[in-house]
Amino acid sequence: MARSHNSSPTASAKTSSPVIVACVIACASVAPAQVRADDVHERAAALDRAGSLAEREADPARALTSYRFLVASTPRTRWHRRAERRIAWLQARSEGGFAPLAALMEMQRLSRRELTIARLRGFERKVRLFPEGIVRRESRALLAEAWLRRFGRAREGLLAHEAWLIEPGLRPGERHRAAWGAAQARVALGDARTALARWNEMGIDAPVERAWLRAAAVAQTGRPIAWAVIVLFVVVSLGLGRRELLGRSALRRAFSAPRLGAASWAGVVPVLIAWQYDSSLLGRFACTAAAAMAPVATCSWVAAAQSERGAGRGERWALAVVTVLAVLGAGFLVTERFGALSWWLQ
């Protein structure tokens, strides 16, 4: 009665039911003690298939029955270790008489299109009623990651990650993921400083993540400053240029073709090399390029200041300082944009 081991799962699905599983088990149990090795494997495979099918149908109790029967009723085959692993996995998640696990399995098997916000909210309500245990922890994980990563909802994601974080018995890896998700949600909500502070309070040894959060916090402060000095540079240079005190010729000298060429070489060539060599290195090369812009700006400043002796010292210094600040601001934005800031801060 046990189905052929190469019967298609489509056919299996069509005939799947607790009755069929019971038949598989019953037939297996009445088989003679001395059977051919092939028969043993076939019986074990049929029971394994019944267990797998029950799991796909979100029926953990039925799956557990199949696996237990496999272990108890057949000589040891390669199916046993698998069944033992599934039994251990299912038993560890048996809280609430398997109802929470069945609900979680239903959610886990939803495709991307099938998982809607309404379904997620409905599951969230169910999870509040789950008893404490692995299933509730894993349900919290699913909710948190779905809100934040699949739906991009930072606020709901933050709440879900915080609920996950306070679950008792979190493994270190789960705690790390929950804390990291909460931190990312906070950054997405524009509160990088709190994210960094909370991360530090957790005491998780993860230098890459810490650097990323530090970079986010620095960027939160630095970004508006950088834009402000760039705007100031534009205003000052345009203003000076219009008054023709120091402006046009100095600007021409400061940003002459050779100097622009040098700046391009320093700034663009490493990025192009990185692009060709390994695009994942782009951020770091961009950081290098941004850093190289500072000396280029310094050169321009020195040249401009020396070349316009007729101009007032104050104006020359003002332009030079604002130019340097603006280039540094641009460098900061480039560095931050390419993620190299966190690499610097590691």
Partner: protein, 501 residues
């Protein structure tokens, strides 16, 4: 102005230094790690004919301070050759002060239905290298040597230095167990009298062509976060897979042994990678970060008499049969990608030509650099695509698994190129984007077992699904039906398709 130029040059140098010297900085061995020296040409390294009597173990001098050991494990009929290391020989009798093995892990180095291989680590002073195995756990547990029901196999041991740091030398042991029954669970322990490991269980494969169901996992790019790696391994084990394919980049720098130590010892609460690796055969592809370093070659026993490539002593590309599936693992990393693609491609073509699709209708390929990837970081490798896709097409490869991009991505079924382009032709698709009746190769990127995630991209023409997420894949093969399911680390299904042919 001259002084200004000097200021500029000095500042530029400082800027580069501050950024870690450009490509040399950071954690990318692509740029910063010199490849291991190539092996010298040596006719003695040619594989032995299995029909001839096994030669006595030989110890080859492979260069200043480096040796390689070559021998035929009893009952195996194939030769095993170590990479070039500081010390290599058959196991001895010595046990040091802390001789208990760790990092125990299994793989298939020859026919999976009748053999397995096991590696482990001990302190350097311990040279005893034995495996006791049998079909009853209690008998293996109580045995101190071979008995009527417990058999013993001797193996080799080697010592190598970690190249890029000051870690002490590492001693690895390796033993090959052959002549086993197909589809049979075996219990084994490794070490020697007074210093045995725990007893582990590993099962042999169904015979070639058998249509019994089996399932395997695909993982990749574990480097960086070891707790994630441990959780992925626990998840993979909970699915009860028969073996695990790995798409490469286990560690950040393959020549740094402490990184391998952390990889083998990865834990997250009760999840321990070591528990899984000791029981589920692990079949890795070399990644650019592993870089065919001695740490990779010495610590995994892989089929090594099929392909003599650039420098991997045969272990860089290999194939094996598991039931009715043929699995090919390719190395795609070298200093000369085009050459590697061409040479490995020639071997691949011959390997696939020998496959009888009536016996092994399923063909899977594993390598590291994705030929179809939409990720924002690396994306598709067109050199490999041009070199290998025609071979995949010609031989109807079913699924190609790769990593390198730290994402999950699955392509629609692809066969051939659009005229005048390097873009694949998307062929007829069934439910969930699956191939129809074996027409078209599906390209999967699974590189999310611990490395920092990359952007998944907005989706390319070839993409059916992509997501930047930690992931692993479980493939179930049941006769002529394949069931592919990708999972996120939270257990939710990320992608699935079913293909019957």
């Amino acid at each position: 102005m001259r002084s200004c130029a000097w200021v500029f040059v000095a500042a530029l140098a400082l800027a580069f230094a501050a950024c870690g010297g450009g490509s040399g900085g950071g954690d990318r061995p692509d740029a910063g790690t010199a490849p291991p020296p190539p092996p010298p040409d040596d006719d003695a390294s040619a594989p032995e004919d299995a029909a001839t009597p096994p030669p006595p173990p030989t110890r080859r001098d492979a260069g200043p301070g480096l040796v390689s050991h070559e021998y035929t494990p009893a009952g195996c009929g194939y030769t095993v050759r170590t990479p070039m290391v500081q010390e290599a020989s058959m196991g001895g009798d010595a046990t040091g002060e802390s001789p208990t093995p760790d990092h125990v892990h299994v793989s298939y180095a020859s026919t999976p239905s009748s053999s397995f291989a096991v590696n482990w680590r001990t302190e350097v002073a311990t040279t005893v290298t034995r495996v006791l195995y049998g079909t009853t756990r209690a008998e293996v547990e109580s045995a101190e040597g071979a008995t009527a029901t417990v058999r013993e196999q001797l193996g080799h041991t080697l010592v190598f230095d970690s190249l890029l740091d000051t870690a002490p030398p590492t001693r690895i042991h390796e033993a090959h167990v052959c002549g086993l029954e197909a589809q049979t669970p075996y219990f084994y322990k490794v070490g020697g009298p007074g210093a045995w490991s725990a007893v582990h269980e590993v099962a042999t494969a169904p015979v070639r062509g058998a249509t019994v169901p089996f399932r395997f996992a695909v993982t990749g790019d574990s480097r960086d976060e070891m707790h994630v790696w441990a959780e992925v391994q626990a998840a993979v084990a909970s699915h009860g897979v028969d073996f695990q394919l790995f798409t490469g980049d286990a560690v950040v720098v393959g020549a740094v042994q402490p990184q391998w130590d952390a990889w083998f010892e990865a834990t997250s609460g009760e999840a321990r990678a070591a528990d899984v690796l000791a029981e589920i055969p692990f079949m890795p592809a070399n990644g650019n970060h592993d870089s065919l370093a001695v740490g990779f070659l010495a610590q995994f026993a892989l089929p090594q008499h099929e392909y003599e490539g650039e420098r991997g002593d045969g272990e860089e590309s290999y194939s094996f049969d598991y039931g009715n599936a043929h699995v090919v693992v390719l190395n795609d990393f070298s200093s000369d990608m085009a050459r590697t693609a061409m040479e490995a491609g020639a071997w691949l073509r011959e390997d696939l030509r020998a496959v009888d699709r009536a016996v092994t209708p399923w063909v899977f390929v594993v390598h590291h650099h994705a030929t179809y990837s939409c990720s924002t970081v690396h994306g598709s490798n067109f050199e490999l695509r041009e070199a290998w896709q025609p071979i995949f097409d010609e031989h109807g490869v079913d699924v190609v698994f790769a990593g390198h991009d730290h994402t999950y991505e699955r392509s629609l079924p692809i066969r051939g190129f659009r005229p005048g382009t390097r873009e694949g032709v998307i062929v007829e698709r069934g439910a969930d984007g699956a191939p129809v009746a074996g027409n078209g190769t599906v390209y999967v990127v699974s590189g999310g077992a611990g490395a920092e995630l990359y952007g998944a991209g907005d989706g390319c023409d070839h993409t059916y699904v992509t997501e930047s997420v930690r992931n692993y894949v479980i493939v179930e093969v049941e006769g002529r039906t394949l069931r592919h399911t990708a999972y996120r680390l939270d257990g939710s299904v990320l992608d699935r398709f079913e293909h019957t042919k």
